[in-house]
């Protein structure tokens, strides 16, 4: 596996404690992991760094609590840290555990979990670049204890992650801090990261576009759980190396769910299909997609176990006896942790890189499936059978009707690319526009429609391929979007059609000037029908507010409604992502 490097390794190294799962879960007697972070160039009390700032407001007074104090690395020492109280556990006298119910720990843990999630995406085998925010500001603001409420969410307008706390229904004396749940913090951070990658989803009307946000956020929580060696070891010990029957990785936010009288918030270990869910509720819908990809993860884990167990490194465990029980060794069990980490690593490389390949505008699960398969096949990231598993899951869950709906041609020559200077295509708007105009048919831009060429993105990353080789990759993302007009039969009081955004992503392999992939928005009637349903539901629940009616007197956008813009020619919805709070 590739070394765990990230951009900016000349940065100071800082030790940050963070929760392994949540306060109800401990592993090996510990509830806290340590993260040695090299992502940021500067740190201040708070914690605050160049890209993340924790602001711990007191919900009663509005004052800021003092932030955890930053202690830079002493001279000749490499590790900076934050001043978080620790105490000795009488059971383990040599160990000094963090005191988790203190302000500095709460502040530092959420900070560390946000940064750890960012690191997951910035890895050279994933994005290979720093994450970008969708808002105009350098820092993601993190409010760990916003107020008393069973909720948490990413809020673009305030450039923040808002975490709330509440009293558990079953045990009213227990206060649940959502900011101490690794799942919830990873989930909300993923929303912010995905918003930077695919900002159009924030205003999407297609239910699957919003559900995609949820599914990716939940899968990020799973990948973050896999990043804890303690947790992986503990769980696999209990399950004798299998993840099929364990809910610890597949269940999202168990403490939060239990406090509300449920086992967990969502379960990724499911067999739900699009036919099973009611349709347009994004959280419910998301379980179909996250369930499909989690099922692929389980199969990848089993496949890795089978393969690893045959390798000499693990085979030898079969000849040893357990020193305590005297039972014979089990290579399948012994390699299960490494297999799980490897499976997560490989799956995340495909499913997170695919986010960059998504076409601009509205997207469907099938769009995402095509993007995953394109990045996976284009970069040879996994053996073909993994792509077959993905196809099979998408078919079984009724995301597509036929396997060929997921087929995307990859790595092919396209003559017009030979005649264009890539530097000009990237830097010169006129050249980019002319290229799009000349290649409308290839890019599937409808005749006569006005289109917009998005700023081009250059990707420099490393593919870790199916042969365990690191292959440098340089790609250019060329994205065009255009308005698509749909009839509006639902709101008879406004005789205007509805407008959504569609688009195409052209991925150019800069090393050989081949087309890595071309991906265009789902144009199926099914998605249009689903948008109708979503629009109708928003309307009937009073969640659509026309134009200025979506604004507070000070001109700021109301959080309780989705704006319906009726003034710019057609009907457009804005800010649907505000529906994606963790609970309603």
């Amino acid at each position: 596996m590739a070394k765990n490097t990230t951009p900016g390794t000349s940065n100071p190294k800082v030790e940050i404690p963070l929760m392994i799962k949540d306060p109800t879960v401990t592993a090996g007697g510990r509830g806290v992991d340590q993260f040695h972070c090299t992502l940021e160039s500067e740190y201040w009390d708070g914690p605050v760094s160049n890209r993340v700032a924790v602001l711990d407001f007191d919900d009663q007074t509005g004052e800021l609590r003092p932030g955890a104090k930053f202690i830079p690395a002493p001279p000749k020492r490499a590790l900076g840290r934050f001043d978080v109280p620790r105490r000795t556990d009488p059971k383990y006298p040599k160990r000094k555990d963090y005191v988790t119910d203190t302000d500095p720990f709460i502040q530092t843990s959420v900070f560390g979990t946000v940064l750890r999630t960012i690191k997951l995406f910035e890895h050279e085998n994933v994005l290979g670049r720093p994450v970008r925010w969708a808002f105009d500001g350098p820092q993601l603001l993190v409010i760990p204890r916003a107020a008393d409420w069973a909720n948490a969410f990413y809020h673009r307008d305030s450039r923040s992650l808002q975490f709330f706390f509440f009293q558990a229904e079953a045990a009213p004396k227990d206060r649940v801090y959502t900011c101490l749940s690794r799942d919830i913090v990873a989930h909300e951070t993923a929303h912010a990261i995905l918003d930077g990658i695919a900002p159009d989803l924030y205003n999407a009307l297609t239910p699957q576009s919003l559900a995609l946000h949820e599914a990716v956020a939940d899968l990020t929580a799973v990948m973050m759980a896999a990043e804890s060696g303690w947790l992986v070891t503990e769980v696999l010990e209990k399950t004798r190396g299998a993840i099929d029957d364990s809910t610890i990785f597949s269940s999202i936010a168990p403490q939060f769910g239990a406090a509300l009288g449920r086992k967990y918030l969502r379960q990724l270990g499911n067999r739900k299909t699009l036919r099973d869910v009611s349709g347009d509720e994004p959280h419910e819908l998301s379980e179909v997609l996250s369930g499909a990809l989690f099922a692929v993860l389980v199969r990848m884990h089993n496949e890795h176990r089978e393969r690893f167990a045959q390798e000499d490194k693990w085979k030898k465990f079969g000849d040893r006896k357990d020193p305590v029980t005297g039972e014979p060794g089990d290579p399948w069990f012994s390699c299960s942790g490494a297999a799980f980490t490897a499976a997560c690593f490989r799956l995340r490389n495909s499913i997170f890189q695919a986010l960059e390949y998504l076409p601009p505008g509205e997207v469907s699960f099938a769009d995402y499936g095509r993007a995953i398969l394109a990045v996976d096949e284009g970069g040879n990231l996994n053996p073909p059978f993994v792509r077959e598993w993905i196809c099979s899951e998408f078919l079984q869950r009724s995301i597509v009707d036929k396997p060929d709906e997921l087929v995307t041609k990859v790595n092919f020559m396209y003559e017009p690319l030979d005649n264009v200077d890539i530097d000009d295509l990237v830097n010169d708007e006129n050249v980019a526009r002319k290229f799009a105009e000349d290649n409308r048919e290839f890019l599937l831009i409808p005749p006569g429609v006005q289109f917009q060429v998005r700023p081009r993105q250059m990707l420099r990353k490393t593919y870790y391929d199916a042969n365990r080789k690191e292959v440098p990759a340089e790609e250019c993302l060329f994205k065009v979007s255009w308005p698509h007009i749909e009839s509006n039969e639902l709101d008879k009081s406004i005789s205007k059609p509805r407008e959504i955004l569609r688009g195409t992503t052209l991925v150019i392999d800069l090393i050989n000037k081949k087309v890595r992939a071309v991906l265009t928005s789902d144009r199926s009637d099914y998605q249009c029908h689903e948008r109708d349903r979503m629009f109708k539901r928003l309307m009937e629940n009073g969640l659509l507010a026309r134009d200025d009616r979506a604004l507070a007197p000070d001109g700021s956008t109301l959080d309780s409604v989705v704006q319906l813009d009726t003034k710019s020619g057609n009907l457009r919805v804005l800010g649907t992502a505000c529906l994606l709070h963790i609970v309603e």
């Binding site: 500067e42 740190y43 201040w44 009390d45 708070g46 605050v48 760094s49 700032a53 602001l55 407001f57 919900d59 007074t61 509005g62 004052e63 800021l64 932030g67 500001g137 350098p138 820092q139 603001l141 916003a146 107020a147 008393d148 409420w149 809020h155 307008d157 305030s158 450039r159 923040s160 709330f164 639902l490 008879k492 009081s493 406004i494 109708k536 309307m539 009937e540 629940n541 009073g542 507010a545 026309r546 009616r549 507070a552 007197p553 000070d554 700021s556 109301l558 959080d559 309780s560 309603e584």
Partner: protein, 404 residues
């Protein structure tokens, strides 16, 4: 020929509706019975002038000719629905009305009600606390020299339970022991005098907790007054080191702007507890919807309460959320009417008095269904009324506009 009359007074921004129903006495003789649905206006700007009540109450008294009302209905606990009779009773000399029966929305029973429904109490307390914080915030804004926009003042005045409570107390005493706290499926026998006309409660449900929703907590950052007589103040902690100043200021602004979402949620919660009832008389069906908003309409639909009607008192002064979406509307005002009778809607409203009320698309939606829509404020000056007559033989509706 007998006719049922619905009279909608112009009280500024608020409701005052007098229904006169020819009914039968115990001996079989025709007798006119009177129902008064709400009297109140919102206490902000032009729409909230107390002076409007005097001619309205005087007109009602003259119509009653010294008799008590047969039924008074308080749809919900908002000033623009409850203030008028309390105001009249405190005039010098007092202008008082009495009632043989009074129906108040279930949750207006107060402590006894909330003891039976602890979840409703919990949620109501959250709303009350939210309201307290917003009052404090607006005072702090005012003290900082910022003008409070009129729609915000109206919303605030309408939802300040400390002001409303006195008015509701007055209405609780209006019919003495014959006061009933009303909800769907509650026992109405003996709680009204009607022999021929049929009254049916469509809403609210007895447990109103669902209408209250889950109140999103506020993060306004206001300190309590230092001493009596001083104003609360806005708390703005200084920008911590390393934090982007622009982002920080934006965050503080966004945290505070949530007060308006909060106010709308508080307003909506009370609106949805509105008593919604139908009155059926000689083939006519009339619907009085109070200020019911979408959550209440959806509940009514879920409970299969909805039936086609000929008359609609448009809910919530013509707001976009007061009238349900096309599917629900089709149940009560189908595009193809169920009979040949006229259909009409009345909306008591006033532009610019309340946020986003009235909504012209909503009025158009009703007109598109073939209804004649009367906007009281466009028909008569404050103090006057629009009267609609529903003839016993089902012939055409007649409308009269009478100035004070």
């Amino acid at each position: 020929m007998d006719s049922l009359k619905v009279r909608a007074y112009n009280v500024g921004f608020g409701d005052a509706i007098l229904i006169t129903v020819p009914d039968r006495s115990a001996s079989g003789a025709t007798v006119l019975r009177h129902i008064l649905v709400d009297v109140g206006n919102v206490q902000a700007g032009e729409g909230g002038k107390d002076a409007y009540f005097e001619p309205v109450l005087g007109s009602i008294q003259r119509t009653l000719d010294g008799n008590p009302l047969d039924l008074y209905v308080m749809t919900h606990e908002h000033l623009d629905h409850v203030q008028g009779l309390f105001y009249g009773a405190n005039l010098e000399p007092p202008v008082t009305l009495s009632a043989r029966n009074a129906w108040l929305t279930a949750s207006a029973e107060g402590d006894a009600y909330y003891k039976r429904f602890p979840e409703a109490k919990r949620r109501q307390l959250a709303l009350v606390e939210g309201c307290r914080q917003i009052v404090s915030f607006l005072k702090a804004l005012n003290a900082a020299g910022q003008e409070i926009p009129l729609p915000v003042k109206s919303l605030m005045a309408n939802n300040d339970h400390r002001v409303t409570e006195k008015c509701v107390d007055h209405l609780r005493e209006l019919a003495g022991e014959r006061t009933t706290y009303i909800y769907r499926n509650c026992q109405l026998n003996g709680r009204h005098p009607f022999e021929e006309a049929q009254l049916k409660i469509w809403a609210p449900e007895e447990d109103v907790s669902d209408y209250y929703g889950r109140f999103r907590p506020l993060t306004l950052g206001v300190s309590d007054p230092v001493s009596e007589g001083t104003s609360p103040a806005l708390v703005t902690p200084k920008v911590p080191k390393g934090v982007d100043v622009k982002s920080y200021r934006n965050l503080i602004k966004k945290r505070r702007s949530g007060y308006f979402d909060g106010l709308l949620a508080i307003d909506k919660a009370a609106n949805n507890t509105s008593v919604v009832f139908s009155l059926e008389w000689r083939g006519w069906k009339l619907l009085f919807a109070g200020d019911a908003e979408i959550r209440s309409w959806k509940t009514m639909e879920g409970k299969r309460q909805l039936e086609p009607v000929h008359f609609l008192k448009v809910s919530h002064h013509g707001s976009v959320n007061g009238t349900p979406g096309e599917d629900i509307l089709e149940r009560i005002l189908p595009r193809t009417p169920i009979d040949q009778r006229d259909r009409v809607a009345v909306v008591s409203t006033l532009p610019n008095a309340y946020p986003n009320v009235p909504d012209e698309h909503t009025t158009q939606m009703l007109k598109n269904r073939g209804l004649e829509v009367f906007e009281v404020n466009k028909e008569v000056q404050p103090g006057g009324y629009v009267e609609i007559e529903f003839p016993a033989d089902g012939s055409h509706i007649r409308k009269t506009a009478v100035e004070a």
